[in-house]
Symmetry: C2
Amino acid sequence: MSQRIAVIAGDGIGNEVMPEGVRALDAAAKRFNLDLDFHTFDFGSCDYYLEHGQMLPDDWFEQLKDFDALFYGAVGWPATVPDHISLWGSLLQFRRQFDQYINLRPCKLMPGIKSPLAGRAPGDIDFYVVRENTEGEYSSVGGKMFEGTEREVVMQETVMTRTGVDRVLKYAFDLAQTRPRKKLTSATKSNGISITMPYWDERVAKMAKSYPEIAVDKFHIDILTANFVLHPDWFDVVVGSNLFGDILSDLGPACTGTIGIAPSANINPEGNFPSLFEPVHGSAPDIAGKGIANPIGQIWSGAMMLEHLGYKAAGDAMVTAIEEVLSAGDSQALTPDVGGQGTTESLGKAIAERI
Amino acid sequence: MSQRIAVIAGDGIGNEVMPEGVRALDAAAKRFNLDLDFHTFDFGSCDYYLEHGQMLPDDWFEQLKDFDALFYGAVGWPATVPDHISLWGSLLQFRRQFDQYINLRPCKLMPGIKSPLAGRAPGDIDFYVVRENTEGEYSSVGGKMFEGTEREVVMQETVMTRTGVDRVLKYAFDLAQTRPRKKLTSATKSNGISITMPYWDERVAKMAKSYPEIAVDKFHIDILTANFVLHPDWFDVVVGSNLFGDILSDLGPACTGTIGIAPSANINPEGNFPSLFEPVHGSAPDIAGKGIANPIGQIWSGAMMLEHLGYKAAGDAMVTAIEEVLSAGDSQALTPDVGGQGTTESLGKAIAERI
Ligand SMILES: CC(C)[C@H](C(=O)O)[C@@H](O)C(=O)O
Ligand SMILES: CC(C)[C@H](C(=O)O)[C@@H](O)C(=O)O
């Protein structure tokens, strides 16, 4: 069965790592006999915005909605387009309109990658952050009053719905269920944020009753970030609101030294709209155009995409190839960020060959 | 001139570390010839709540408002009183009613303290987190609708005022001005939280114009937490909203390994109401009653209090005494958390003697 995949490279190094992502997927398709059908789009980038005055064409929803998955590079180019315009005009539209209410990011200490944490080795850290991806603190409700005066006041409403909270919790509990440790940690701040966060806690407690095998704990977000650094081995599946999940899913990969290579999935679990797969890193204006961006985040995101499409063996093979290339440590292949003298292409090719 | 200090031990280990805080302050008073006049209060604790049905007496404001400073232990005992009741009923009242709009926390790698970060030594990490302490995400505006049904929705408004934002920024810029590196980092999330956070950025940019000598940068909170782990040496003064400051001021001390001993100050810079000084750690139900809690956070908070009251030399002497005792590494004196076999009292006495 053919899988139709929309490819959107976006901005900056998105354009450099995307070809390697596609190369690796092609290699996996060959080996596992999959039929991946790629279609490339130029919208969802700041260049497109500068030409058209908007990040996406009016009919983007129609154009994309029947794809099996979206494969995204990176978006944002603050030198020409402010981030809140480029991001709200593209990525955040996809997440919302395609109801990709799960943002999933693995935090895994990989071989050959130096963790900034003292005394941690591969195997020590291996957890998932599950982030609510459509509501919460990322809200379009609010405004400004007494503008331009001393009394100026700005408000923005955090909005949590029972539907929105319960479905992300269910996904996280189900994920914990599939893991050997069967542990779930909830990120909260009910001691300070006194309305929405106690509600979040309430729903976690309620959901926990349906999953008696899962060991559940919770931490306030302040001490939770501290514990990511102090006790990363405590965690298995960590679930958080849109903002808390956002923070934890950058901090987690930072603790494993993989922020430049970590993948992420924006998932619509019901499958009524396509899910979106993208590296955690951004467009990286500082190294864009040099050909040295690490393509692993893009490739690893491709692996998550294959797993999501039902090809778990193919996805696993891609992750294994990444691990093997990192372990091998061939400095001609590896990019500078992981200690080599290679290029985006040399590393991409090395991984594709392993696959 | 006599300084009247209200002492509130609060809950759990608050009761154990407070006597050592007072002991150290007494020692400093003796050496520097200060007149510190301590008054002890039993409210602001969960025991008080269980007896009176409220955390504070009706006239707490009258009782406390003319003190020169408040010296607080720790509050919270979730086994009997939910955190959002105990905290909102005490600490958060003080911060708001006494308009302690600055929360200040040093993040400093101390001698003899093991950092969880690889390859960092004392001197490498030394910055302040300045947190807005009265508004923002900690808001009392919001509510719940369609309660108990599938349509249930919960809302909480983040509120930022120009007054509130500008005054914390001014404090942070002024603080950066006094530091050799003269660097200020702003915590934002204007790429996702599209109303309040762009406003925060706007005010930072505006304020920066009045401080041309200060090097200003900003990071989104997600990558900022990552950079605390990856590049803690980048930071000098970091300023954030109530929630972002809360997170960063736990994560910062975690990165320096000092979360159990870090101090904090809740400051009313105008001095029309007393400021409050408290350790970062909480009431620690797990070790309460054992006499092994580390009193350094309380003592170091006392040092910040003396500095705030105008006795900088005395405050510095207290911090130096802490550093010397940690460097000396006498395991009979040190508490178990820092590798010793001593008690709260033995460590408190060792520091008081050095002072
Ligand atoms: C206890 C809690 C309400 C408080 C806060 O979030 O402000 C604490 O974490 C702190 O930082 O002092
Ligand atoms: C770019 C930004 C809006 C986005 C977010 O905060 O969701 C990013 O940080 C992410 O995590 O994908």
